[in-house]
């Protein structure tokens, strides 16, 4: 379960203060598929980063699986992300110098696994997203949809409990977007993975169990 209590985020520079989130209270149960919607700049990605422990709230608490994350150090946060969270980004964020298989293996590098075990898991994840035949390709040799499927394989290779997707279909055409949504839905149904997805697309959002709406950093509908 992901719980956000009274979460606020303020970005401060020497001259200005920007309120990104204020008084957000959200509880997402295990196995849920939740969409976060709202206009650009309303704090959707900031909220997702809080849930993914990539950013710390200025106020309030973030609890995941019952643990209060506010007091964890960088090392513990990194370990928690590695064990429990998988990310899918709008712009895929694959490492161009590495082959598909090596990109997918990245989360496993920071676990105590043998090379053979890492390769086996990476192949299984690529098989899950239908890209077994592209293991030795470089990202630049793949289409946008294929790159996003590689990113999903990377997100699920460590079998995390939570998958956080930031506009996963934002850079894809409708057909490819549909394919990616299908994979996310399958993961949610078959593996009971909790999925939180930021999206602008109302149609995609409707396919999730619940929609959280933000406006100017505030939760307007839960």
């Amino acid at each position: 379960m992901i719980q956000l209590e009274q979460v606020g985020k303020v970005y401060r520079t020497e001259k200005i203060e920007t309120l990104a989130l204020a008084d957000v209270n959200i509880s997402i149960p295990q196995g849920a598929f939740v969409s976060i919607m709202g206009p650009s700049g309303c704090g959707k990605s900031t909220l997702l980063n809080m849930m993914g422990l990539l950013d710390q709230p200025s106020d309030g608490e973030v609890r995941i699986s019952g643990q209060n994350m506010s007091h964890m150090g960088d090392g513990d946060l990194a370990r928690f992300r590695n064990q429990h969270i998988g990310f899918v980004f709008q712009s895929f964020h694959l490492i161009p110098d590495l082959k598909v298989i090596d990109n997918v293996e990245i989360p496993l590098l920071y676990r105590s696994l043998t090379h053979k075990e890492r390769t086996r898991l990476a192949h299984a994840a690529l098989d899950r997203v239908g890209l077994s035949s592209r293991v030795d390709h470089f990202p630049s040799q793949l289409s946008g949809g294929q790159q996003q499927r590689v990113a999903i394989a990377r997100a699920i290779v460590g079998e995390p409990s939570y998958i956080l997707a930031d506009e996963p279909t934002g850079n894809l055409d409708s057909q490819m977007g549909d394919q990616v949504m299908g994979i996310l839905e399958g993961l949610n149904e078959e593996r009971q993975a909790t999925i939180v997805m930021v999206t602008h697309d109302e149609e995609m959002a409707k396919r999730s169990h619940r929609i959280i709406r933000l406006f100017d950093g505030r939760q307007v509908d839960a």
């Binding site: 992300r81 990310f87 110098d97 590495l98 090379h115």
Partner: protein, 416 residues
């Protein structure tokens, strides 16, 4: 983790060919120059061959003779009279040898003309320097006293004039004089300043007797100490000798200046043009050479740091990705340091092979006759270590800086 980091490093380097080429070129070129220059310097400072005892020797290659008031100055190699009457009689060295400078003379065989290197030496020369005799013996004090027309020749001269058989008892005609060959030695590298020649004959066989009265010109001396700890005493005695010279013209009011030097001191004397000083300091020369080497190393290292910094900035997004999926700062620093170490190791290998090929080419060429140049492992190791330190530092700092970057900013390519 480390094996995997090496694997990733190799993949990244293979993909970023231009960066890899620039980095490898800079580092390996620096190492090549360093090792080649060091090998060239080393062979002059520690010559080997017959001069392998050079660490126990002081050389007298140059002195300055001045008239009172400094109206007239003669600078150059010392003369036989000065060396035989004043230097040869010194007590603190174990042995002292006098020998002529290397002279090139022509030998004719039929219509063919050959240029050979000739030296006139005393008998002690063969005791001070460690020649390897292939056959025969050196000339001795008796030959020297009798001005015997005998010669020691090197292997190449023997093969050229006498073929593969024995040369002992054969004669060789040099500048109108006929010498009997009594010994054949291995070829001496041209880098042996005092030993290098093709033919060696006793000093008294010189046709022109003017050398007997010359205070300046044409000769050198080597002073063999029992140990290096005797050097200060020898230098003091030589300084005292210069104060008590028996000049041919007692009314001439001359003075003799200079000193006896180790090979490094010879270099320092030339470098700083300190021809008149009794003693020269090698500290400044060593410091200047070390500083030059350091600056030479520093420039590519700074360049590498700069390349590393810009390269790592390009990889901010990768750092963000890795952090998102569980990498901590230690993982990231380790990865970038290993990338640098892999790069440096490859550059080191190329540098060493490059230096080896260049030194082999110099050896094969006739630039320095009979000399064999080989890489100095200590210099190579020191150079590699320095580059490794600079390379690691150049990788660690940007990696450490980037590893601390907020993952959200890193994902945006380091932009807020």
């Amino acid at each position: 983790m480390i094996l995997n980091a090496i694997k990733i490093a190799l993949k990244v380097l293979a993909r970023r060919k231009f960066f890899t080429f620039i980095s490898l070129f800079g580092t390996s070129f620096t190492l090549i120059v360093l090792v080649v220059v060091a090998a060239l310097l080393d062979i002059f400072i520690r010559p080997g061959g017959p001069e392998r005892n050079m660490p126990r020797m002081l050389g007298l290659y140059q002195c300055v003779m001045k008239s009172e008031g400094g109206n007239s100055t003669w600078s150059g190699s010392p003369g036989y009279r000065f060396l035989s009457r004043h230097v040869k009689t010194m007590q603190s060295p174990e042995k002292i040898t006098i020998f002529s400078s290397h002279n090139t003379v022509s030998i004719y065989e039929g219509t063919d003309k050959y240029n050979i290197g000739l030296r006139h030496t005393d008998a002690t020369y063969w005791e001070v320097l460690d020649f390897r005799f292939i056959e025969g013996v050196p000339f001795d004090a008796h030959h020297e006293q009798q001005a015997s027309q005998v010669a020691v020749i090197n292997q190449q001269t023997k093969e050229r004039f006498f073929g593969s058989g024995s040369a002992l008892g054969e004669t060789i005609e040099i500048d109108g004089q006929t010498f009997e060959v009594i010994g054949v030695v291995e070829n001496v590298p041209a880098t042996n300043r005092s030993a290098y020649a093709d033919v060696w004959v006793p000093i008294p066989t010189k046709k022109n007797r003017d050398y007997l009265d010359a205070m300046m010109g044409g000769f050198n001396a080597l002073l063999l100490a029992r140990s290096r700890s005797d050097f200060p005493a020898i230098k003091r005695e030589y300084a005292a000798v210069l104060q008590q010279i028996d000049w041919p013209d007692p009314h001439g009011d001359f003075e003799m200046l200079g000193g006896v030097d180790t090979p490094l001191e010879v270099m320092a004397r030339k470098f700083f043009n300190e021809t008149e000083e009794g003693e020269v300091s090698t500290g400044v020369l060593t410091a200047v050479m070390s500083l030059a080497a350091l600056i030479f190393m520093l420039l590519p290292s700074m360049n590498l740091t700069n390349i590393n910094l810009s390269r790592i900035m390009e990889r901010a997004s990768e750092i963000g990705i890795r952090k998102s999926f569980g990498a901590n700062s230690r993982h990231l620093v380790l990865q970038f340091v290993i990338e640098n170490l892999v790069l440096t190791a490859i550059a080191g290998l190329i540098g060493f092979l490059g230096a080896y090929v260049i030194l082999w080419s110099i050896t094969q060429s006739d630039l320095f006759a009979y000399a064999t140049f080989s890489p100095n492992f200590r210099v190579f190791a020191a150079g590699l270590l320095l580059i490794l330190v600079f390379g690691t530092m150049s990788g660690v700092y940007p990696a450490w800086k980037m590893a601390r970057m907020h993952p959200v900013y890193a994902l945006k390519g380091g932009q807020s």
